[in-house]
Subunit: 361 residues, 2 copies
C-alpha cells in the first residue's frame, strides 16, 4: 500500500504530529522539542546535515523519532546529490549515512533505520540514479508510517495490561514527540485513555533534559489525561506508599537477554517498582531489539556536562566548570522487567526465548 495513503487511516490517533514529510516542498518538517512546553515551533529543511544537527542537539529525540528522522535525512541526501553517475551517487549517500549515524551512539533505531535505507540502495544499485532516489524516498516514508502503525498496535496490545483506575508511573518522554507519532510507552497509556479507562499518570521530571516536566506535561495536558509531576528521586516513595500501580517506560535499545537501555534513571525506577512488587513494563517496537545477547555491547552515550550544570539549557544551578558525569542512559537488567510490549506481542521472561520468537514472526 502507498505509505501516504495508509497514513490517512491513522488520522484519529495523530492529534500531535511531531514530524512529517512535506511531499510538495520535498522538505522534512519537525517540532523543535527543546522549546516545549512553552513554545510550539516547527522547523523544516532540505539539508540532511540540518537533520543531523537536530538529532545531535535534541530538537528531535526519542529512539523511534531519531530513526525515522535519519531515514528522512537519507531522503534529503538522495534528492540533494545531483549526478547521473551511480558510483558517485552511492559515495555521497554513504557520506550522508555515516554522518547521520554519528549523531547519537546509543539509539539503536538510528542504525536500524539507516541500514534499512541502505539495504534498499544496495538492492537497487544496478538501476539508475532516478530509481534509487525514488526507492529511498519510498523507504523513508514506509519507515515513517510503519512506526506510527507499530505504535498504535503496541498501544492496543499494551493497553490490555492496564486496568481502569490504574495509576501509571512513567519516566522520560516516550510519547508522540519521541516517535513518528502516537508514542511507545506513552502510546500504551494514550490507547488506554482513548479506550475510556480512567487512568492517572505519574511522570518523573527526568533530569537533566527534563523530558518529563516539558514533553510529558505538554502531551498529557494536550490530551486532557490527568497526571502528577514528580522529581526523579520520588518513584521509590510513590511505590512504597501505594500511589502507583505499575510503571511503563520505553527503550532505546533492547538486547535478546532483555537488558534494556533507556533514559538515565530507568534502572532505579525499575528497582523501586520491584522492591514494592509492582509490575515494570517496557514498551518498544521490535526495531529497538538488537540481535545480540551481550550486555557489554551496549554503548552508553555521555553528553555535555552543561546539561547538568544548567537547567533548560540556560539557568545555572551550580558553580561553573564543576566536574560532572552525564551518562544519558542506563541498563535495566531483565530480572526487574515484568514484560516487554512490542507491536508483535508481549514478551515475558525468559526473554532470550520470547524475544527471539517475536523477532522471527
Amino acid at each position: 500500500m502507498d505509505p501516504l495513503k495508509e497514513l490517512e487511516k491513522y488520522e484519529e490517533f495523530l492529534k500531535i504530529k511531531p514530524l512529517y514529510w512535506d511531499d510538495e516542498a520535498n522538505e522534512f518538517v519537525w517540532l523543535d522539542t527543546r522549546l516545549l512546553p512553552f513554545k510550539e515551533v516547527y522547523r523544516r529543511t532540505k539539508d540532511y546535515r540540518r537533520v543531523g544537527v537536530a538529532i545531535k542537539d535534541m530538537e528531535i529525540r526519542g529512539a523511534p523519532a531519531i530513526g525515522v528522522s535519519a531515514a528522512f535525512g537519507m531522503a534529503l541526501a538522495a534528492l540533494e546529490v545531483n549526478t547521473k553517475d551511480v558510483a558517485e551517487y552511492l559515495d555521497k549517500l554513504k557520506e550522508a549515512k555515516d554522518y547521520l549515524a554519528s549523531t547519537r551512539p546509543t539509539a539503536f533505531n538510528l542504525f536500524w533505520a539507516l541500514d534499512r535505507v541502505w539495504n534498499v540502495i544496495e538492492s537497487n544499485k544496478d538501476k539508475g540514479v532516478e530509481e534509487i532516489r525514488e526507492a529511498i524516498l519510498r523507504e523513508a516514508l514506509t519507515i515513517y508510517v510503519e512506526d506510527i502503525r507499530n505504535n498504535i498496535e503496541m498501544g492496543r496490545i499494551g493497553s490490555k495490561l492496564i486496568d481502569d483506575g490504574d495509576r501509571i508511573l512513567t519516566h522520560c518522554n516516550t510519547g508522540a514527540v519521541a516517535t513518528a507519532g502516537f508514542g511507545t510507552a506513552l502510546g500504551v497509556i494514550r490507547y488506554a485513555w482513548y479506550e475510556g479507562k480512567k487512568i492517572h499518570v505519574i511522570t518523573t521530571e527526568t533530569r537533566p533534559v527534563l523530558q518529563g516536566a516539558r514533553l510529558n506535561v505538554w502531551e498529557l495536558t494536550k490530551e486532557g489525561i490527568p497526571f502528577t509531576l514528580i522529581t526523579d528521586g520520588m518513584p521509590g516513595l510513590v511505590f512504597k506508599r501505594g500511589l502507583a500501580d505499575l510503571a511503563i517506560v520505553g527503550a532505546d535499545r533492547i538486547i535478546l537477554t532483555g537488558h534494556t537501555a533507556n533514559k538515565i534513571g530507568t534502572y532505579m525506577v525499575a528497582l523501586a517498582a520491584w522492591d514494592n512488587e509492582k509490575p515494570f513494563y517496557v514498551a518498544a517496537p521490535t526495531s529497538t531489539i538488537q540481535a545480540t545477547a551481550d550486555p557489554s555491547s551496549i554503548v552508553i552515550e555521555e553528553r555535555n556536562p552543561d546539561e547538568v550544570r544548567k537547567v533548560m539549557g540556560q539557568y545555572p544551578i551550580t558553580l561553573p566548570d564543576v566536574n560532572v558525569y552525564n551518562p544519558s542512559f542506563d541498563v535495566t537488567p531483565p530480572k526487574l522487567i515484568t514484560a516487554i510490549i512490542t507491536e508483535k506481542g508481549i514478551a515475558h521472561p525468559p526473554y532470550l526465548k520470547s524475544l527471539k520468537r517475536l523477532l522471527q514472526q
Copy 2:
C-alpha cells in the same frame, strides 16, 4: 565545661561556620543557604519568629542545624519576654516553642532540641525569670557545641569505614551547613579527607531544592575535596559500572527498627547500592533516633509544589499550575542499610538491638 570555652578546641574543624550565637549582641547569626553556591550571605536576628521563618523557608536546613537553630530561637524568646512573673514567662516561652515546632514536621531533631530546652525550663521553674533565662541560654549553647562535638566524633568513628582511594556517593547535603558545623555524613567524608585519605565524592544534585548541586558543591570546593556532580537518576548506573565504592547519607529521623527518614531519593540510592552489593551507610547523631519501633509514626512532610515547577525558586521548567507531588523525605528500610554511624559508635543489624544499646550508653 563552659560551652564557648569548649568550642575553641574545635576551631581547626570549623572552616565553615554556618550558624552561631553572637554573645555580645545577643543575636543569632546564620548563613542563608538558599543563596549558595553563588553568594555567601549571613543573616542575624533577635526575633525567634525570624528563626522560624528561616527554618520554614529553608534558609537553614538539615536536621541538626534545624534543631540547634530552634534552641537558639528559644534563647531569643527567653531574652525577648520582659516580665518578672514566672507563670507569664513560661506561657510566652510555650508559645515560642509551639511556633518553632510547627516549622518542619519531619525533623526529629527539632522536637528533640525544643524538648531539651523545655526540660531545662521545667527543672528551673521554681526559680526566678533571670535564672530561667540564663539556663535556657546555656542549654542552647550546650546543644550547639554538643552537635559540633558529636559530628567530629561521628567523623572519627565513621572514617574507619572509608578506605584510601574510596569513591563515595552521597545524596543531599549533610555537611557543615546542615549542622551546627562539620556535618554528619559529609562530616565523615571530611574527616577521612583530613586524615589524608585520597577520596573522591560523587554527589547527586538532589532535586527539587538542589542541596547537592548547591551546598555540597560549595562545601567540597571550599575544602578542595575532589568530586563529581550527577543527577538523582544516575546512582544506579554509577554503582552498576563500579564507579562508586559505597554510599553514605544523613538522616532526618531514625526509629529503633532502623527505618530511616531522609531526603527524598535516599531510598532509591539505597536500592541502587544494594542491588550492586555496595555498602550503604547512614550517619546521624543519636539525637536523630526516635524511641519508637513503628515506621507509620514517621510523618512525611509535603512542600510547596513550586519547588518542583521551578528551579532555584525562580526558573520555570514546566507549565504553571501543573499537578505536583512534592514529598520532602522518604523512608529507607533497614534491610538496605549496612550500618548506622553515630557519635556513640556504629550500629549494625539487627538495629532494634544495636540502636537500643547505643541509646542506653
